[in-house]
Amino acid sequence: MGTRIVKMPDVGEGVAEAEVVEWHVKVGQSVLEDQVLAAVMTDKATVEIPSPVAGTVVALGGEVGSVLAVGSELVRLEVAGGGTEEVAAAPKQAAAAPESPSPAPASKSAAPTPAPAAEPAPRAAPRPPAEPVPPQPVTPGPRPAIAKPIASPAVRRRARDAGVDLRQVRGSGPAGRIGHEDLDAFLRGSAGAATGGGKVANTAVETVKMVGLRRRIAQKMAESKRRIAHFSYVEEVDVTAVEELRAALNAQHKSDDRPRLTLMPFLMQALVRAIADFPGMNALYDDEAETIERHGGVHIGIATQTPAGLMVPVVRHCEARGLWDFAAEVRRLAEAARHGTATRAELGGSTITITSLGALGGIVTTPVINRPEVAIVGVNRQVVRPVWQGGQFVPRTMMNLSSSFDHRVIDGYDAAQFVQRLKSLLEAPATLFIEA
């Protein structure tokens, strides 16, 4: 028996160390080749490390939470054969980075079918029959573990293009050889569709590289979701009054060069007022230093859809701005973001974020917090609904606010009070502008 040391692989560009976040194996356990040994996390992603060889785990390189340098010992395995060898495991695929679309049935879902070291296909008798064997019914499903599936290069290539792990395909040929028809049957099976009516399973897989803004969005979103204990709170707001005010102001200033008001400036004004009472919402939480920065200035990020993807331009110092100022600044920034002319400064430094999909706003959303902020306010669609008021149904313009908070630093009670404050400000718009 020899020893094989599986080293922490290079898990990505410029990553020097990674934290073990989960062990999938224990000392003494035997592992198969490609079985996942551990999940490790870098500042960018969590990556599963598969075993490059089969063997028995002799030692683990650390505990959950240990930070190991790239190239240091991750797992020590006892393997068949002599000598001590060091191997760098290849990182599987970033669990968070969606750069490679997970191959359909191949990877994780079917992997833990232990098939306890079954003898390779006992169907093949020592003296195979000479007459042609009637074709066996082909049923997709894992077959007994064989080190390497037997298949021609053309079959192997087709399988790889379709993202199929041939170890999951039952070969109907002699010695368990996998033919094109076996692969076809497997693909039909995994497509889950009956192939009547001349319909053919489309096995095309297009790999799109995650680059640029899309990649940054992916990293930021995943990071936010992973680190922050999100909770969302949805409240209904009667916006009839604020909508009437908005319409009146727009009518009044129809002819001058002031920008047309949307609901956004009112919401921003409401945020400024509510934050004055709840300064904990306008904060940045540095979870590594374990400090919370409460900001005096209210810098509101406005989630904006651009052709390249989601961007968050920032209206700075909202506490010092007025209604039309908000409107003008939001319009200017949104255009800059869409045309790609927004500066770095305009795209960063927010302390709280508003996300609105306008008419597409839906009933409820669960916004992802723009880390390291601690709160995000989502705006849902406005709808005129009959509301029971004063003994009768009256038509009111209703709108939901779906807000998410970082539960690590904000308690549910405070979040609820904050949203109720926003609601009361918006429902009685005069209070937005009265200096208390």
């Binding site: 692989p9 290079d10 990505g12 560009e13 190239g71 760098a88 290849a90 390779p120 296909a121 093949a124 020592p126 195979p128 390497k148 037997i150 298949a151 021609s152 290069p153 192997r156 790889r160 293009d161 993202g163 040929g173 002699p174 010695a175 368990g176 050889r177 790999t207 590289k209």
Partner: protein, 469 residues
């Protein structure tokens, strides 16, 4: 300083590098290829310039000349006689150079067709994406998203026998101005024996010195026995278990020590050191990259990925087997991976051919290796002495051997030794890649009379059904 930007930078224009470049070009990628040229290469690398191709040309010419001389000495079994054959060795070398020229310019034309930018000069990696090339017209910088390292290998000298003067590597042996009178070959591997036998046929007095106890240590004795017989017939002395200790004081002989024997001196006009090749990793700035090494080689995974993202390595640089066709397969695969296709190097076997006389070809596992891997095996061998075609060629020494699993008859390995068996390598490799069982080969009609029938019969024999033995 000129700057070139490309999607793919390929360092080295040998079989691994140029195939990667052509394939990447076919797939529409923007490719730059750096080739240092010089004595050891140029486009086509070791293979085309100072390896596979020129050696085969010399071997062919040597065999033709040897054949004629045999006939002149009235040794022709079928009664042919020839008057005093002579060989103009300078023209042999010229002919060989012509073949090399045709092939290398062909590579150049293919690269041009696929719009590969060729940068002639010596490459030094600056980082994982940047390379400095010292060209005749000054330094240039090449930047690329992907880097494919394909710098190959070079002949390794022995500490006691540094190259220079009488001591030559295979490179010089292929461009000698004349056939040396006395040639000592150090190393009885395939390079040493191929060239040693060729020079013996050209008229040199050849002695082979091998440190191991047997010649062609990479092959089992069933396969090497016909080669040993032929070496004896050619008058080549093979000293096994012998170490080359350096040149004699006069510089005209090789001092050889063997266990339990006195130091011996073997007169030599040339000493060909063919003890191995080492990866060309020095002076390329590879130390500036964070590459995990596998001994002296660059470590790669099954996709030819190195330890650095988007830095790939193919060919001899990545270790054994150092074979051009392995490098080509790796190069093409890496190009496809860079183009976004899903590929891994999943070949069942890489054929290996030894162009000695007779030739040896192996694909897959030997019977011993298969047993060591835990398989119960059936082995079938068929001698060419029972093959009609071999007899009509006057080449009856040799055999074909098929190794298969006993339980399901899956063929695990095929080997042959005999004149011209290198051409059987395609059939052997195809059988393994297609997952053939013994019955598949037995059920394939092989043309008569051909050497390939021995493959058929060996498979039949493994099934206990041989017809002609």
């Amino acid at each position: 300083m000129a700057e070139i930007n490309a999607k793919v930078l390929i360092v080295g224009g040998g079989p691994g590098g140029y195939v990667a470049a052509i394939r990447a070009g076919q797939l529409g990628l923007d490719v730059a290829l750096v080739e240092q040229g010089g004595r050891e290469g140029g486009l086509g690398g070791t293979c085309l310039n100072v390896g596979c191709i020129p050696s085969k040309a010399i071997i062919h010419a040597a065999e033709a000349f040897h054949h004629a001389r045999q006939q002149a000495s009235a040794k022709s079994p079928f009664g042919l006689s020839v008057e005093r054959p002579a060989l103009d060795f300078a023209r042999t070398v010229e002919w060989k150079d012509g073949i090399v020229g045709r092939l290398t310019s062909g590579v150049g034309a293919l690269l041009k067709r696929y719009k590969v930018k060729i940068v002639h000069g010596r490459a030094t990696m600056v980082d994982g994406k940047t390379c400095r090339v010292d060209t005749d017209t000054g330094p240039e910088t090449v930047r690329a998203e992907h880097v494919v390292l394909a710098t190959g290998s070079e002949a390794a000298s022995l500490p006691s026998l540094p190259f220079g003067g009488r001591i030559i590597s295979s490179t010089e042996a292929l461009s000698l101005p004349a056939v040396p009178e006395r040639l000592v070959v150090v190393g009885a591997g395939y390079i040493g024996l191929e060239l040693g036998m060729a020079f013996a046929k050209l008229g040199a007095k050849v002695t082979v010195v091998e440190a191991e106890e047997r010649l062609l240590p990479a092959y089992d004795s069933e396969l090497t026995r016909p080669v040993a017989r032929r070496l004896r017939a050619l008058g080549i002395e093979v000293l096994t278990g012998a170490r080359a200790a350096g040149l004699s004081d006069a510089g005209d002989a090789l001092r050889v020590s063997s266990q339990g024997a006195a130091m011996r001196e073997i007169a030599a006009d040339k000493v060909l050191v063919a003890t191995g090749r080492r990866a060309r990793t020095a002076g390329l700035g590879l130390d500036r990259l964070d590459l995990t090494m596998n001994g002296a080689f660059v470590a790669i995974d099954e996709r030819c990925a190195t330890s650095m993202l988007n830095v790939w390595a193919v060919g001899d640089l990545t270790g054994e087997p150092m074979l051009a066709h392995r490098a080509m397969a790796q190069g093409a695969m890496v190009a496809e991976i860079i183009a976004g296709q899903r590929r891994v190097f999943d070949a069942v076997a890489i054929p290996a051919v030894c162009f000695t006389d007779p030739e040896i070809v192996t694909v897959g596992l030997s019977p011993d290796a298969a047993r060591a891997a835990g398989h119960d095996v059936h082995v079938g061998t068929f001698p060419f002495a029972a093959n009609g075609r071999a007899l009509t060629l006057g080449a009856e020494d040799g055999l074909v051997r098929v190794t298969a699993r006993a339980d399901n008859h899956l063929v695990l390995g095929i080997a042959a030794v005999g004149a011209g068996v290198s051409e059987l390598s395609s059939a052997f490799a195809l059988a393994l890649e297609m997952g053939a069982r013994l019955e598949d080969i037995a059920g394939t009609i092989h043309a008569h009379p051909t050497l390939g029938e021995a493959f058929h019969e060996a498979s039949l024999r493994a099934l206990g059904e041989a017809l002609h033995i």
